[in-house]
């Protein structure tokens, strides 16, 4: 392309939009129905129930250790489908570009999206680009919507994952360490470097979750990826939905030393830091060991741990401290962590 930066005219639907689509997006996103440049991609009838989700990504900075806004935009939506028990199939991508964005930066992001989509086994089937004036955006924002299919052989004959099967004594598992993404972003923004570098965990969890489902067919009762608001907020939401308590053992929480130290310096709690490559899982007690083994056998689940259990109660989340105390965990309050994803 002749330009080095995004111009307003790249968004007007005319010649420069056409060029941007042809010379950048279609070079990386090569799904035939997208290349056809029609108003909608036509796709074969899916072989099961649909799962549909959407997420916008406004993370700042755009590039960070472990990924960038493009990695996040694909992994985030793929993970929302996977934790819903669906096989992620298709993504759409909507870009809001700020005038002046360097085209080399846009290309890096688009390349990350293509690579992450390949890793996750999904196709980017439709896209859109808009441009806003300098000072009306922040480099770029990306929306992805995702479509998955609930395959009969993955969902244990339609066993619901909405939390309605959760019962007292069920085990609460997490697929790895807490807070890596959130701490990485906050440290970048604060300009802090650590002796042991931290990096975002952002990754598509589709194959990890498929492995878990294959090994525990129909025994997984609930899954959720603890992103904004962290593990504490996510557990509080499911505790309220089920009107049962969840008791978490502080000593069982896997947290990297560098993340724990960094969080302490910045006054943050890893339980409220966003994760972008982790899944919380609730299973019946008899399925706990098999589920943990399935997670730990996967490269993205090596540090999986059982962190607590469900008990009778009224929708509270309790953190059991090493000294035997209990702290109540509520939803994230206040504005400590904006634009984390």
């Amino acid at each position: 392309m002749k330009q080095e930066q995004v111009l307003l005219a790249h968004g007007d639907g005319g010649q420069l939009t056409h060029q941007l689509v042809q010379e950048l997006f279609l070079r990386y996103f090569n799904f035939p129905a997208l290349q056809a440049l029609t108003d909608a991609a036509l796709l074969p009838p899916p072989a099961g129930r649909l799962a549909v989700t959407t997420d916008s990504f406004v993370v700042q900075p755009l590039f960070f250790p472990g990924g960038d806004i493009g990695t996040l935009a694909v992994a985030g939506t793929v993970n929302d489908l996977a934790v819903s028990g669906a096989k992620p199939m298709y993504l759409t991508a909507g870009f809001i570009l700020e005038e002046g964005l360097l085209l080399v930066d846009l290309e890096r992001v688009v390349a990350s999206m293509a690579e992450t989509a390949r890793d996750a086994g999904v196709a980017i089937v439709a896209g859109d680009t808009k441009v806003v004036e300098r000072g009306r955006g922040d480099g770029l924002y990306i929306n992805t919507a995702g479509i998955g299919v609930v395959l009969p052989d993955l969902d244990g004959e339609g066993a619901s994952l909405d939390g309605s099967r959760i019962g007292e004594g069920d085990a609460v598992l997490i697929s790895g360490t807490l807070g890596d993404h959130g701490l990485t972003i906050m440290a970048q923004r604060a300009g802090i470097a650590f002796d042991t570098p931290v990096q975002s965990d952002c990754a598509p969890l589709s194959s990890l979750i498929a492995a878990l489902q294959e090994n525990c067919l129909g025994q997984v009762k609930w899954m959720r990826d603890p992103t904004r608001g962290g593990v504490a907020t996510t557990l509080k939401e499911i505790a309220e939905v089920t009107a049962k308590d969840i008791v978490i053992d502080e000593q069982a929480l896997p947290v990297r030393d560098a993340v724990a130290d960094g969080a302490a310096i910045l006054g943050l709690d890893p339980l409220y830091l966003a994760n972008e490559g982790k899944v919380l899982v609730i299973v019946a007690p008899e399925a706990r060991d098999a589920a943990l083994a399935a997670l730990q056998a996967h490269p993205l689940g090596r540090e999986a741990a059982c962190i607590g259990h469900v008990s009778g109660g009224s929708g509270q989340v309790y953190l059991k401290t090493p000294l035997g105390g209990h702290r109540i965990l509520n939803r994230l309050m206040g504005e400590s962590l904006p634009r984390i994803c």
Copy 2:
């Protein structure tokens, strides 16, 4: 809600996000799978091929005669599905809010979306909200992704709408007047008021297009909604794809007097102005009258007209002027019309 304005904390995934979702979005968007607040909506298996599209909306001003960014965000995506020959079924909605946006304005937009979705017969099944700092957005941006189903009884046994069936002599129809949306927005931005007020044509075209398809089963060869770039840019794109010429008769173009006058004052050409409630249709010559009658019988197609025909050639669009001259129409060039949708 206690706040009058959007705060950064409305986007952090915690308590205020929860409140915004519960007390605003879910009051207007009442699809059960959305109300469940899971990570993805689970929907029954569709009865045909899927059509998938996405569009982001950054129009400025947010409110304009004839609609607002919410009307546009629903109608635009519905129309992309309908012109692809699909019955629009589901939308996702991603909001990027600027800190300080008035919550009453957000509510007006959300109410417009709900009303337009009801008119179009689609459900909003998934949503997401992010907040960016003051000066990093412009009130609000909305992304919608859409899913439709290509029903066997609408598509004439799968007759392709990609333009591959277009032949010499085919008729080019438009469902109504040109440029109403584009001129309305540009006049608002220029602070110009006309004696005869202009207003945006933005509307969901699903029922108009379904009526056309029912009356001309399998005879519609191509449809497209001429949004950004207008009728000229849209026709240039299909002329190039088919490597045939399209000849448009200037005298046949339906343009409201107020739009023609306003465009002249602002130095704009209605052929390049965006439409948000119009469809361009190409049909075989023998289907022309039936197609025109079907369009004109619908409230949104009363001013439908045959504006030209396809001829042999090499991908050019010619405008035949009243004096017998021919002007070549190319894609919109330059940055005359940013943020029109």
